[in-house]
Symmetry: none
Subunit: 197 residues, 4 copies
DNA sequence: GATGAATGAGAATTCATTCAT
DNA sequence: AATGAATGAATTCTCATTCAT
C-alpha cells in the first residue's frame, strides 16, 4: 500500500484530507476502549487511546451516545440488511429468523457492555437505543410475520419485546465463561414454536 | 436465652436490641432508596433516608455489595426455600419449576436495578452475585433434574446458565412498558420442553 | 481565653466544635482571594488558600453566590444598621445620608471586584445582589425621605437607582490610582441638592 | 478611479477591496455579537456570525482588545470630534459639556457590556481603555476648562476621573429596567455646579 | 490569506471513603 | 458505636489559541 509517504510515515498525515481517516482512528480507538472498559469509559481514556485531545472527541461527537452510535452504526446497518437477504435465500422463515438472531447475538456478545446500555433503565443512551430499535425491530417483525404466516411459530410475538429479550440475554455474556448467551437464545427461539399452553 | 440478669445485662440486651433495630432501619432505608434510585444510589442518600451518618453505614456494611446482600437476603432465602416446597406439593416437576421461576422473576422485577447488578460484567457486586447463585442455583438444579427425570424437558440444561438467563431477561423490566419480562421468561421455559434437534 | 489546649495549639482543634471556626477560616480565605483575584476566583484557589479540599467549600456554600454573601454579610448588616443610627444622632438628614453613603463606599472600595458583581448585567450573583439591595435600599430610602422632607434635597430620587449609581461609581476604584470613587460620589450626592433646572 | 489596469492590477485592487470588505464584515459581526453576548463572547461565535474561520479573526486582531477597539473606533472618534464642535456652537460651556456627556452616555449604554470592560480592575482590555481615554479625556478636559473659566462649575475637576465616573455609571444600564444611567449622570453633572462645601 | 481541526489547560462538580470527636 | 465534616480523585465540558493545509 504505497501512499507515497515513506519517509514521514503516517505521523504527518494531512489534517483536512484526513478528517475522515482521523474520525476512523477515533472510532477504532473508541471501539477498543469500549471493549476493554465498557461504553462508559472516561472520554479522556478514549482520547488518549486515539492519540487526540478530548476536545477533538467533543467536536466530532457532542454526546457520548453520538459516539457509541457512530461506533456501531455500520454493524447495526449490516445486521438490518441481512434480514431481508436471509428471507430471500429460500430458507424456511423460522430458519431465517434463527440465523438472523444469531447474527444479532454475534454482534452483541463481542461488544463488551454494549448489550447493557441497550437496557431501558438508563436515561443516557436513549438515542443509541432508539437507533438500534429503529433499525432492527422492523426487520425482526418481518421475519416473525413470515414465520407466523408459515405456521412455524406461535402468533402474536412482539418484535420489540423479542429484541429486548435477546439483547438482555447477551448482557455480560463475554465475561462469564459459565454463561453462554447462545444457549439461552436458542431456548428462547425454540420457545417460539411451542403452543402457548 | 437467659435475660434475667442485672442492670448491666439489661443494658447489654437493650443495646443489642437497639443495634438490631438500627440495622433494620438501615436496611429498610436502603431498600427504599434502591427501589427509587437503583442499587448504586449515593451512600449519603441512604444514610439520610435512614437518619444516620454515612459512617454508620460503612461500619455495618463495608462494601456496597454487603449492603445489597443484606437488603435482599431474606427474600433470596425465601425463594430458595420455596423450591423444595413446590416440588413437594405434588405438582408436576415442570409446573413446579415454572412456578418457582415465576417467584424469582417477581422478586427481580420489583427491585429497580437489581437484575442489572447481577450481570457478570461488573466486578463490584461479585459477592452479591455469588450469594444469589449459591443460594438459588442448587434449588434450580434440583427442579431441573426432577423435570428431566420426568421426561418433561430436554436434559442437559445447566441451572446456573438458566438462572443467569432469567436474571438477564428481567433487567430493565420495571422501566419499559413495552417490555414484559414474564413473556420472555415464559418463552424461555417453554423452550426447555422442545427436543434439542 | 483559656481553652485548655496549650500543648497542641490550634492545629489539632476539634472538628465538631470548630465547625464554626473552620467556616470562619474559609470565609477569611475567600475574602482574601476575592481581594486578590475577584469574586470569580476558581474554587480550587479558595480551597487551597483555606487549606481545605474543594468539597468542603461546596458543602458549606453550594453556590458561589452563597459564599460571596457569607463573606460580606456581616459588613452589609453593619452598614444597614448604621443608617437609622446616623439619623438618630441629630445630624441633619442630608449629613446623615452623606455619612452613610461614605460607609457604603468604604465598604465597596476595599473589596476588590465586589462592586463589579453588583452590576445587574450578570446573571450569576443574582442572590448576592438581591441580598445587598434588600438590606440597603430600604435604609437608603429612609434617609432620602428624611432629607427630602427637610427640604435639603430634590424630591423623587429613587433609592435603588442611587444605590446602583454609587455602587457603579465604586467599580475598579481600588485598582486605579487616578480614579477616586469618593470624589465622584461626593459630586453625585452634591447633585442631589440642586433643583433640576 | 482608474481601474483600466491589467489583469494583475485588477486582481490586486479587488483583493484589497475584498480585504477591506472582509474586515468590515468581521467588525459588523463582532459588534452584533458584542451586543448580544457582551464583549467576552466566544471567539468562535463571532467567527460563525461573520462566516469566517477563527484563524481569520486572530490574524486581524491578535488580542480581544484589538478587536473591541476596532469595533468601536469610529464611534469613539465621532464622540471626540463632537466636543469642539459643541463648544463652537455658541452654547454655554456647561450646556456643551452636558450635551457631550450625553453623547458619551448614549454610546456606552447601547453597547452591552462595553462600559464594564472600561473598568480599570481588568487587566485585559488595558489597550481598549487606553484608547478610549486617550481620545476622550482631552476633549472632556477642554469642556471642563471652558465651563470652569466661565464660572459655571466648581474648578479642579479632573477630566479622567469624570470620564471614569460617567463610564461606571453606565455599567449594566442596558439590562436593568429599574436603573437609568442618565438620571445618575444628570445628578453627577449637576453636582459639578455646586460649591465644594 | 483563510480555514477550521486539533489541542489541552482550566474550571466545576460529585461522591466514595476516612477519621477525629 | 455513631456522626458527619473533610478530603480529593475522577470526570465532564468549554474555549482560547495554534498551525498544517
Amino acid at each position: 500500500m504505497n501512499d507515497g509517504n515513506e519517509a514521514t510515515g503516517q505521523a504527518v498525515v494531512s489534517r483536512r484530507k484526513d478528517a475522515r481517516r482521523n474520525q476512523e482512528t477515533l472510532l477504532n480507538a473508541a471501539a477498543t476502549v469500549f471493549v476493554a472498559s465498557g461504553v462508559n469509559a472516561p472520554v479522556r481514556d478514549i482520547a488518549a487511546k486515539a492519540g487526540v485531545g478530548v476536545g477533538t472527541i467533543y467536536r466530532h461527537f457532542p454526546t457520548r451516545a453520538d459516539l457509541v452510535i457512530a461506533v456501531y452504526r455500520h454493524q447495526v446497518d449490516a445486521c438490518a440488511e441481512a434480514g431481508p437477504a436471509l428471507l430471500a435465500t429460500g430458507l424456511s422463515p423460522h430458519a431465517a429468523l434463527g440465523q438472523w438472531i444469531d447474527l444479532f447475538v454475534d454482534f452483541l456478545v463481542t461488544k463488551h457492555g454494549l448489550a447493557a446500555v441497550l437496557r431501558s433503565d438508563n436515561s443516557d443512551f436513549e438515542a443509541l437505543r432508539a437507533y438500534f430499535l429503529d433499525r432492527l425491530v422492523p426487520v425482526c417483525a418481518e421475519l416473525l410475520e413470515a414465520a407466523a404466516v408459515a405456521g412455524e411459530i406461535r402468533p402474536g410475538i412482539d418484535a420489540y419485546e423479542l429484541m429486548r429479550g435477546v439483547g438482555n440475554l447477551c448482557i455480560g455474556a463475554d465475561s462469564d465463561p459459565r454463561y453462554d448467551a447462545r444457549h439461552m437464545v436458542e431456548l428462547l427461539i425454540a420457545g417460539l414454536r411451542g403452543p402457548h399452553r
